[in-house]
Amino acid sequence: MKKLLGIGGSDDSLKALEHTLSRAAETGDELVVAVVENPDSAHDADEVAEHVRQKVEEHGEVDAEVVRLEGHPGSALVEYAESEGFDEIVLGGGETSAMGKIQMGHIAEFVLLNSHVNVKLVR
């Protein structure tokens, strides 16, 4: 399976990265990690890209490509996934409030509503 992981640096997206790399190590999925600009994230795209490269190296058995997508993160992910023939987009499944309520990020909401490719949210 050809998977596209979108990551903007929020905590849930970092968790999704760990999860997806471990999964890919088990299944041999083809994986591309797309670093997007998430205005809600505490980290800028350069930091996130560097973090992703380190994590990919730690999972030596996974051959994941890292790309940078500019512009509106949700639409950039959907367009890239559809034009490059991906089977699935993987995203962080949201942050939780102090109370424990799940709050989905804006990127995930946009992708869920617009993507013709399957979407996986990592909880």
Binding site: A98, M99, K101, Q103, H106, E109
Partner: protein
């Protein structure tokens, strides 16, 4: 008068403990949650936490909101640990917990997040609104001023109640609507 302006006057709200009769004629008591740790209990007396635990065991999963209360036992216990650190008010009927309101502080926002749960068989009887009034009155006395919540778009009954209580919509671009209010007490 309260209504949709982002300000909630708590002066007309009853402070717990208080009792009321529901539309179905059942007597419900609203009390502040008591941490019973280390306290002796009579055999037939249930502790507050055990009562809440029992209420959530019976809770209809269709009434869950954004993942809470969690279904799995360990996750439910952890969630109770978290919210019971906050301000909690419980509605009782015949010795059982039938409703629970909780306010949890988010230090980053300097505001308290509100959630209210009513056991399905007690919904539509005014338990939720009484719980909310009592909780906000109690919270005001503890110094709480800013309260916010999220509610799912399709939960019209809850949205109507929050609007009536003074909550104003602060964000509605998402799947859930965010509402907030400031507690005041007019004399």
């Amino acid at each position: 008068m309260n209504g949709e302006n982002g300000i909630t006057d708590v002066s007309g709200f009853p402070e717990p403990p208080f009792e009321f009769e529901t539309k179905e004629g059942r007597t419900v008591e609203v009390r502040v949650y008591k941490d019973e740790e280390g306290e002796e209990k009579e055999d037939d007396e249930k502790g507050d936490r055990a009562a809440l635990r029992q209420m959530y065991d019976e809770f209809d999963s269709a009434d869950r909101a954004q993942g809470i209360p969690p279904v799995r036992e360990d996750a439910l216990e952890r969630w109770l640990d978290t919210v019971l650190e906050g301000i909690n008010v419980v509605a009782w009927c015949d010795g059982d917990a039938v409703g629970h309101a909780t306010l949890v502080e988010d230090e980053r926002l300097d505001a308290h997040e509100l959630a209210i749960f009513v056991l399905q068989s007690y919904q539509g009887e005014g338990v939720g609104s009484r719980l909310m009034y009592g909780t906000l009155a109690h919270a005001y006395e503890l110094g709480v001023r800013d309260v916010w919540l999220t509610v799912e778009r399709w939960n019209h009954a809850a949205i109507r109640l929050y609007r009536k209580t003074g909550f104003a919509v602060t964000m509605q671009e998402s799947f859930e609507i965010e509402m907030a209010t400031r507690l005041v007490k007019q004399t």
